[in-house]
């Protein structure tokens, strides 16, 4: 209060004014640059007669999409939807598999067993130091195309599946997966309910919870019931010369992008898991040992729950990386969204709106993922009392 007497400095030296003025100036410059760029794009496109709108989405795509029902006469819009579905097919399954593999390897890094520890370490050190692009191209040409037999010499164990470098075909239910999806949802809800009930019983009576012993049979029962209800039809792949009918197929292109992304991302997740396990206070492990908890019990009840709290934000970053890296599918001819976009541009779709749309879709995808990770993070965060 004693310095207030000196009065306000002049405007150009008033920190409060300067702060606002500076930010306004920065905003203004950004707006100016963006405005000029957008204006140029519009003016240049107009001059060249290139459409800047999104009407092209209704034009026929003029290219086919492998491994789908898509016809070249369908509009570009449908091709993009198909591409997005392919992207999600890689991203969703990839995130699940990379997490499972990453957590296993991360725990393995700290194993007391020399072989497991060393194997995990070799895995991490090799895979996280290879560019993921190289890994994907390698998975395609060296594994999917070369390590698998040609279709004429396809490997058909018991006549149930067909392994060749045109893909792996395995038996699959006939006539849609809707009953299985419903069954899966019911089974998940049931499993959750059972585990909550068992935990409550255990809390109340002190009897062992045995959640797994209750949940697994329940899930199996529900799934078998769903399958029986769906008509029991199983479509077994049947190879005739070069063509295979029936079953469900994983193409070599999908294998390459999926495999590359999963093993690469898992190597990063493993390091995050290892780091966050080691970040759990040592006293916690010692206290657990003092309570006579076994090794796996220590891990499951004491260490992992606390380490997940630390691991969730960085693992979320890895999920984002995986989803963005899925665009590398273009290198092996996998039809994810970015490739569909670039091919439709090659077939007459205007470049600027096409890539803007791609940008927007990936932004939405990433933000959705971040949102999910944030929700989990908030639920896991330490509640300070």
């Amino acid at each position: 209060m004693t310095t207030a007497r000196t009065g306000r400095p002049p405007l150009w030296r008033d920190v409060r004014v300067l702060r606002v003025a500076f930010q306004v100036a920065v905003l203004g410059i950004i707006a100016l640059v963006l405005g000029t760029l957008v204006g140029n794009v519009q003016a240049n496109s107009e001059r060249l007669g290139i459409p800047t709108g999104f009407e092209y989405l209704d034009n026929p795509a003029q290219f086919p999409i492998p491994d789908s029902e898509f016809r070249p006469t369908q509009p570009v819009r449908d091709a993009l939807v198909e591409g997005l579905a392919n992207t999600l097919r890689v991203v969703v399954l990839g995130i699940v598999m990379a997490t499972v593999l990453g957590v296993l390897v991360g725990i393995g890094r700290l194993s007391g067993n020399w072989l497991v520890r060393t194997a995990a370490r070799v895995y991490v050190e090799i895979l996280r130091n290879i560019p993921v692009f190289v890994l994907i191209v390698f998975a395609y040409f060296a594994l999917a195309l070369t390590a698998f037999p040609a279709i004429s010499e396809a490997w058909e164990p018991l006549g149930l599946a067909v392994f060749s470098n045109r893909g792996v075909v395995v038996p699959w239910v006939d006539g849609g997966i809707a009953p299985l999806v419903v069954g899966g949802v019911v089974a998940t809800v049931l499993a959750f309910g059972l585990s909550r009930w068992r935990t409550a019983v255990a809390d109340r009576t002190g009897a062992p919870a045995h959640t797994v012993r209750f949940a697994v049979p329940a899930v199996v029962l529900v799934m078998v019931a769903a399958w029986l209800l769906s008509g029991l039809a199983l479509s077994v792949p049947d190879r005739e010369a070069s063509s295979v009918s029936g079953g469900i197929r994983m193409t070599p292109e999908y294998f390459a992008i999926f495999f590359g992304l999963v093993v690469y991302t898992a190597s990063h997740i493993a390091e995050i898991v290892r780091g966050s396990i080691q970040a759990v206070d040592r006293g916690q492990v010692e206290a657990a040992s003092a309570l006579a908890l076994s090794g796996s019990q220590r891990l499951r009840y004491i260490v992992l729950p606390q380490s997940f709290r630390i691991a969730v934000p960085p693992i979320g970053n890895q999920y984002l990386n995986l989803s963005k890296n899925s665009t590398l599918g273009t290198a092996v001819g996998y039809f994810e969204l970015a490739r569909v976009t670039s091919i439709s541009v090659g077939n007459g779709a205007p470049a600027v709106p096409s890539y803007l749309l791609l940008l927007g879709i990936f932004l939405v995808l990433s933000l959705t993922l971040s949102f999910g990770v944030n929700v989990v993070n908030r639920r896991l965060a330490l509640v300070e009392r």
Binding site: A43, R47, A150
Partner: protein, 388 residues
């Protein structure tokens, strides 16, 4: 409770500050756009011209042409002393890199344009483009002309901002299979797998043709680069390899297991007129490129070659040839006002050659007959517009 209260206060202050900044930003924005309008009128070109912004973009990119009216590309090319030609570096027969030089049919047509416009066939800057980015490069002014094995279609004419000119090669899509595969016709490929180059017209053609024939459409697998496609084909990922016949011949001639291990089905199943393209909106440059291409056809019609053109010129009495080559002797030289030097055809033939010469040098070795690419009097489609 007290804590919560102060926290709320913080948020309020921050909110208010953000609001102030946003408002100020909006003001600045408004002022900027206002300025733009004011200045665009008096300082740059006369009004009612959207060239103001376009000119700016050109300046940013290094003072290239970006005009709204015709003639600017030609002027820019003459000033730069070099034609920037969008082409390819790995298309056997059409444009491959050999000892740092672009060699091939398309590469020679780039040289034809340079010889016609600048009088120097070597004044070409080759810009290698992928299928996906070729039109973007043309639109953005990165290249002056695209001579890159590009099929002229309605969509590309209309939506890519490109103007297509005299086709320099009439091609058609064909199918290639391994000689030991036992496949003998398109019918045999029904329901199998066909590899193609991505981002091209070939992808859709396969589906169209098989649907037309009432056959099971094969799975079409596009690849971004011909090398990857070749590896996949060698590994038996696909049964057929479909592309323009000229390209298939090129790939077959350089196939690692030898050309005889591959068979190309004889019939083409699509029309693929490969034509050079320029940016929309510059008619003069389009005419210049068109007549440069045309001059090679005219030269063949006259029977001129790089070896005999000077001799023919000295010996001939045909006023048509003399006018075409820009050597009228005592008579008046014809200048049709195309913006080309009057002796452009002489330079083209002398430095590069006639259409027939270019074809025989690059395409004949691939084992392709002239067929549609003969001059009209031999039953082909090449028909030079009269130069008079």
């Amino acid at each position: 409770m007290a804590e919560a209260g102060s926290h709320e206060g913080d948020t309020n202050v921050r909110l208010r500050r953000t609001a102030i900044i946003l408002a100020a930003g909006a003001l600045v924005l408004g002022a900027c756009t206002g300025d733009d309008d004011d200045e665009a009128g008096p300082t740059t070109d006369p009004p009612a011209d959207d060239g103001g912004d376009a000119g700016d973009a050109g300046d940013d990119g290094g003072g290239e042409e970006n005009g709204t009216e015709g003639g600017e590309t030609l002027a820019a090319v003459q000033e730069a002393g070099v034609v920037r030609c969008g082409t390819r570096d790995e298309l056997p027969g059409f444009a491959v890199l050999e000892a740092g030089e672009h060699v091939g049919f398309d590469a020679d047509f780039c040289r034809v344009i340079a010889a016609a416009v600048l009088g120097d066939a070597e004044a070409v800057e080759f810009v290698d483009l992928e299928t996906d980015d070729r039109f973007t490069a043309l639109q953005s002014g990165e290249v002056d002309v695209l001579v890159r094995n590009t099929t002229w279609t309605a969509t590309r004419d209309g939506a890519e901002g490109a103007t297509f000119l005299q086709p320099n090669f009439y091609d058609g899509q064909g199918m290639m299979v391994a000689a030991d595969s036992g496949l003998e016709s398109l019918e045999d490929l029904a329901g199998l797998v066909v590899c193609v180059a991505g981002g091209t017209t070939t992808e859709g053609n396969v589906a169209t043709e098989f649907t037309r024939l009432g056959l099971d459409v094969p799975e079409v697998l596009p690849f971004d680069s011909p090398e990857l496609l070749q590896v996949a084909f060698q590994e038996d990922r696909c049964d057929g390899w479909s592309s323009d016949l000229s390209q298939l011949s090129g790939f077959r001639s350089s196939y690692p297991d030898g050309p005889e291990s591959l068979v190309i089905f004889e019939d083409a199943f699509s029309k693929e007129p490969l034509a050079p393209a320029v940016r929309d909106g510059d008619t003069q440059w389009a005419q210049v490129v068109n007549w440069a291409i045309m001059s090679t056809i005219q030269a063949e019609e006259y029977g001129l070659t790089s070896a005999n053109v000077e001799e023919e010129l000295a010996g001939t009495d045909d006023p048509g040839i003399r006018q075409f080559l820009g050597e009228a002797g005592e008579d008046a030289v014809l200048d049709p006002g195309l913006g080309l030097p009057t002796d452009f055809a002489l330079q083209v033939v002398l430095q590069v050659g006639s259409y027939g010469e270019i074809y025989e040098e690059h395409i004949t070795p691939l084992g392709l007959e002239r067929g549609l690419n003969s001059i009209w009097s031999d039953g082909g489609l090449l028909y030079a517009i009269p130069y008079r």
